[in-house]
């Protein structure tokens, strides 16, 4: 009985080990896969896409990691060839200010208009009383 339990534990452990045996470069590669856009897919990262181009890009990321490049260098490598659009998170630059701050500005304008309308309603009530 004990023996059987031990065997069972050993088999279960064998299943568990591969999940933990991730090297640092594999973890880095996975993180980068999620940051890089598959340029031929609609809004998918290369981690999600099975397109041939995404496969090529994943292989290239792994090659560059093996070549001891830093994450920033690898991102640059792709930006130089594909442009900023290859990054899932657009970089904060004067060109993308509208993209990053536009929603906040529109929200503030909305708040201002709502506030003005409410104020006007209150002043009308005052006039009546």
């Amino acid at each position: 009985m004990i023996r059987r339990t031990l065997w069972l534990c050993a088999i279960l452990l064998a299943f568990l080990v591969p999940a933990h045996a991730q090297s640092i470069s594999e973890v880095r590669a996975k993180a980068l896969f999620n940051e890089l856009r598959c340029v031929v897919c609609a809004g998918q990262s290369i981690a999600e896409s099975n397109a041939e181009l995404a496969q090529d890009m994943r292989e290239q990321v792994e090659l560059l990691i093996d070549d001891n490049r830093s994450d920033a260098e690898i991102r640059d490598w792709f930006v130089r060839r594909y442009g900023d659009a290859v990054l899932m998170n657009p970089p904060l630059k004067p060109l993308t200010f509208a993209l990053w701050f536009g929603p906040v500005i529109i929200f503030l304008i909305g708040m201002a208009v709502t506030g003005l309308v409410l104020l006007r309603g209150r002043s009308r009530l005052k006039d009546k009383s």
Binding site: E59, R80, D84, L95, I109, L116
Partner: protein
């Protein structure tokens, strides 16, 4: 007071409508080329793996020319193609016409293609390329920021990218290509 408020609302509303309207006007324009994303960093193809690949059977000489062609004088054109690619067949007659008019200018790279299939395609449909090789491992495709086939790049004599066609050289892309080539040849 009331007039000032009304005026403020009108001004704010108009600004908002103009802002959103102009974004939609530019963003949803069907004439806009979806491949040309606005980007602040210059896109530069990398020639470090140029000339590396698998020669097409029967086109070994054309593979050897490849490495030396870009070092030669004069502007050149790099065209990615594949035997399995249907849109490539649309531009193929024009490529033949172009290379007849500009001998030695057109370089071909077969993308994700079997070298035998690519060679058969060129033998049957005509070979417009002065230099051609199969881009094994998609090394050059990645270095050039390729998004699909066919894709065509016009370079000036010093290797500066002048124009990139993200599709077959027909219609508007062909017109733009012709203009870019004329500018490169001057």
């Amino acid at each position: 007071m009331r007039i000032a408020l009304r005026l403020a609302i009108i001004v704010l509303g108009t600004t908002l409508i103009l802002l959103v309207g102009s974004l939609l006007w530019f963003g949803l324009n069907p004439q806009r080329n979806p491949a040309s994303f606005p980007t602040s960093s210059a896109i530069e193809p990398d020639f470090s793996a140029f000339g590396q690949g698998t020669p097409l059977p029967g086109y070994e000489e054309a593979a050897e020319i490849l490495a030396t062609r870009i070092a030669d004088e004069g502007p050149f054109v790099v065209n990615f193609f594949a035997s399995w690619c249907q849109p490539c067949r649309l531009e193929h007659p024009y490529l033949l016409e172009f290379s007849a008019a500009n001998p030695g200018a057109l370089i071909g790279l077969a993308y994700r293609d079997d070298p035998i299939d690519a060679a058969t395609y060129l033998t049957n449909d005509g070979n417009p390329y002065v230099a051609v090789i199969a881009d094994t491992g998609s090394k050059n495709a990645l270095n050039f920021g390729l998004t699909g086939v066919p894709e065509t790049y016009v370079f000036s004599a010093d290797g500066t990218l002048l124009f990139r066609s993200p599709g077959p050289l027909i219609g508007a892309l062909k017109t733009q290509f012709v203009d870019a080539w004329e500018a490169a040849s001057q």
